[in-house]
Symmetry: C3
Amino acid sequence: MLARGDRLHAEGGGMSPDQMVIDGIGAEMFALIAKIYPICRSVTGDGVRQTLREVAAHIPLAIHDVPTGTPVFDWTIPREWNIRDAWIKDARGEKIVDFKRSNLHVMSYSVPVHRHMSLGELKQHIHTLPGQPDLIPYRTSFYSENWAFCMSHRQFEALRDEAYEVSIDSSLSDGHLTYGEYLHRGETQDEFLLSAHVCHPSLANDNCSGIALLAHLAKRLSGLRTRYSYRFLFAPATIGAITWLARNEGAVQRIKHGLVVSMVGDDGGPTYKKSRRGNALIDRAMVQSLKHSGLSPVIEEFSPYGYDERQYCSPGFNLPVGSFQRSKFGSIPQYHTSADNLDFVTPAALERSCRLIADAIAVVEGNRVFRNTVAKGEPQLGRRGLYGAIGGDKDAAAANMAMLWILNLSDGEHSLLDIAERANLPFAVIRRTAELLETHGLLKPVAGI
Amino acid sequence: MLARGDRLHAEGGGMSPDQMVIDGIGAEMFALIAKIYPICRSVTGDGVRQTLREVAAHIPLAIHDVPTGTPVFDWTIPREWNIRDAWIKDARGEKIVDFKRSNLHVMSYSVPVHRHMSLGELKQHIHTLPGQPDLIPYRTSFYSENWAFCMSHRQFEALRDEAYEVSIDSSLSDGHLTYGEYLHRGETQDEFLLSAHVCHPSLANDNCSGIALLAHLAKRLSGLRTRYSYRFLFAPATIGAITWLARNEGAVQRIKHGLVVSMVGDDGGPTYKKSRRGNALIDRAMVQSLKHSGLSPVIEEFSPYGYDERQYCSPGFNLPVGSFQRSKFGSIPQYHTSADNLDFVTPAALERSCRLIADAIAVVEGNRVFRNTVAKGEPQLGRRGLYGAIGGDKDAAAANMAMLWILNLSDGEHSLLDIAERANLPFAVIRRTAELLETHGLLKPVAGI
Amino acid sequence: MLARGDRLHAEGGGMSPDQMVIDGIGAEMFALIAKIYPICRSVTGDGVRQTLREVAAHIPLAIHDVPTGTPVFDWTIPREWNIRDAWIKDARGEKIVDFKRSNLHVMSYSVPVHRHMSLGELKQHIHTLPGQPDLIPYRTSFYSENWAFCMSHRQFEALRDEAYEVSIDSSLSDGHLTYGEYLHRGETQDEFLLSAHVCHPSLANDNCSGIALLAHLAKRLSGLRTRYSYRFLFAPATIGAITWLARNEGAVQRIKHGLVVSMVGDDGGPTYKKSRRGNALIDRAMVQSLKHSGLSPVIEEFSPYGYDERQYCSPGFNLPVGSFQRSKFGSIPQYHTSADNLDFVTPAALERSCRLIADAIAVVEGNRVFRNTVAKGEPQLGRRGLYGAIGGDKDAAAANMAMLWILNLSDGEHSLLDIAERANLPFAVIRRTAELLETHGLLKPVAGI
């Protein structure tokens, strides 16, 4: 933990994070999703930059372009991929597949092609989902030169045995990998990292939702005075996170808490996957938030498969970064298909997701250690108006439990989060009650924590 | 643990605590309860002193009077409250409520009053239990000057809209807070604290039962030679325990084990709430006792709400003191009502409760660490007549398990309680078997433990 | 763990233990069981020596004879017992019980007798199983001079009230206790002990099966190059193990892993009882083996009742030796009766048991610690052909999990077994995948582990 001397001048005003207004954020997030959903993103290219510009309309985003060929740890920045159009025409010249109708129709990073070919040859370049015959799958080939179309299995089965003309008007050439970041400065240089991947095309939940949540959370947080600095990172999955880590290698140890945010627009879960450390403060804060949410959270131990927590939790960094989703990726039929569209995400679910993260932020911001000033025996709460003056009532107990737990455990060893966990009470109740007790001189903060 | 040099001359005779006779104690306890049940006790006053005199008829009790105004940690000894009579008369002058019929009718610490008033005004001073309309509630107002009557809700609803005359002939004036204690001296100055609250009026289980159990347990224990010294404390709840702690602050670290004893006369539970330490020897000893009782015990982790373990386990003391009850307070309909009367407690339940505590005492008294003198391979038990000489019998195993566990785990690191827990056998079986093995030279006690 | 310098020249060839061929071993084991089943074994005597000679037909077994009267820790080698014949004749001179038909008919260590007697007297010397009236029980009286016959309860109840002639042509005289051992030398002097008891007469599962498993496992292992040396011990139960420990007291600390093997020919369980240490590598290796066996294993904590793990795990040694059985001894009706015959054990079950032990051997042999050479971010697996080049497939994840877990946890702190446990994947999958990653330069072994 920090000594006071580490504190900086914070950017925000006087309000603390637990006073952050979340109401209405769902509608704003949904509006941003609707704007960026049609854009064809990939790990590189104009789609990413166009998306980041939309984010930058809400927060002062710093955009970073890293040239093709730049080594980043074990990887190298690939050539930039851009696509203008793509289609398949049947023997009568009719477009039976059209990129303009859905960018999922083209496998991401498909190399350019314009040829006539038989059905047999064409079929070698078509992906479908036989088990979900009405949906278009999402496919990529970032690191192997290839081209392909994706279509519904129903359409695939109806293809006539005739000649086809296919065209993918794409380019794969030296350029840049692009990511954006925004730093909200808090009282200290210790950072809370919030990271969303920006490389998926028209998939609303995965991950227009994460992009929108981070953009609007950052916007609202920017008005507040925080203890931690908050870094919002919008980067392509895997290589984007690796690139950011490689370019900020010396500074990553500032990250004291972190969340990878994706698939936060559906009403499933909520799902929290712990950091590799397993019992980091962010892990306990998210468990605290989800446990008292009234929902049915799924808490998972760390595993090395998932989103960019894979990179942040690689053994050379082992950062305290967990992963927050609503439905778990891969567990729902919409995942990586054309069914992950604007109908699948709702303002209400987005707002709820944001609130869950805000509650965890309130925990890490508000976690303190106190010492009870009347450690021998209980203090006389009644004399201070803190306790039901009429005793003997069976129900009086519940209301006073937070006070009793805080007084009993505030021995300089237990943090407010420790107490909330032990008392099985929401952190916010414990924190507010601790403030009340501090006001009455019954708690003294332990210096330097 | 103690070195031998710490041992004192013990008061008791040659018998050890596991030889304590419990038979018949239930009837004796019930007789004492019947005597003290009618007394109107409160946190101060003649009722407490009268109760302590009844206890002193059985054990040489030291009575302590602490003057009004004495500071005790965060508290101050309040004025002493005494009451002679109280009633409500209806318009016809008939006593519809009479303190002499039940001292629960008057809220404890009610200030004196004698006035005529309307029903409307009277109702401001009446407590009832709408959910249990036939019962009189128990109410107190120790630290806020007020007066009130308690009655059944059925009576309350039948009150006619007429003028009433109310009288509470009480006094609130400088005096004393009174508590009693008795110390049974054992071989060492290390203490086992047994504490019961003495401040509730006519409530048989809460806590005439605890007072009676401690009185008669002390009486029987006084004839025994014990390793620990046993301190029996009879004090008003909360401020009484705080007062005792404040006046014995330097000596409390002698307390190595402790139990708060209350509500031990019904046949519910048994309930044991662990000390704040959570794994103190008393916690393990009580779990051991209850687990092998044949009853369905409820073992609870420490929480800061309850009886005087709140004070003993306050962070500045953190004593190894747990709480023993049969039904858990507040969990039964009789709690703090006129239904907690002499019909609710039975000699059989009282005797059973005493036995459960005696079993835990036998654990802390008899817990030892031994070293197996034949540590390499098993000793040949058969040669010593310790083992079934005819092998191959499927059932022989069970009878020998205690011996095998003790020999295997007596490596100087495991106590008999450790072994009983691991073997899932009653401590008494393990202790007696260890004595047998010691007799045969197969165990050597580890010095100083 | 060992430094490289401790390594010896191993006996075996180039193949490692995970390449050991198990196929067909069940039939070979069964054949050996069929040969030794009829022999009348006891804790001493010709039966043991004859059995060890059959084992020695397969492996170069060293036979040790320890003279009667030799002290071994708390015990003394008893006189040697041999028996040539025994019978009971009825009044007409017909043999109604004949040792030649089943050696279970005579209580082991019965002293010689030849007398006429009444039914009443005879009954004092007969053991039966009233609850299993068709079976002959197995009974012993090693350390108390006595004689007895065992028969079915049905036969016992049909005995006529007449005169009987009984004869036990046995001898109890100075001789030897005999055990055999075979050491397969590995690269290090650290040993893996495999121990089977050889003192039970015609009981196929208990323990002809264990003898046969160890004999044929040793035979197959002898052709392999191993990291550990493997000691196979064939000794009478209890006193045999104690004798071996007493004669090898200085060397037992070489034992790094061990298994007591008994009752491995039925298709129950499998059952593994942990060593006294509870979390030794052998405990984890056996749990790993059984957990991924597709069977329904029973994992038990250590207890001091059982087979010779009692001696190896006595507190003066506390060796990491667990106990492996199929059905747990005593839990099945055949246990210690004539129903434990050749019909009760099968080649298939024997082979399966051997495979389970072989899998655990592969764990302790193959457990290594690596360090990921690309610790910051993930290595680019696709570039090395190690990863599905077409992304976005929902099912690609599963196949890659072993790689991801190894890379994530190979920080020099986690062994392959740690990783297998955490990933919940079979050790063999983890080990093979680690070898693949090592080949690609992505893992470096941590020196000296």
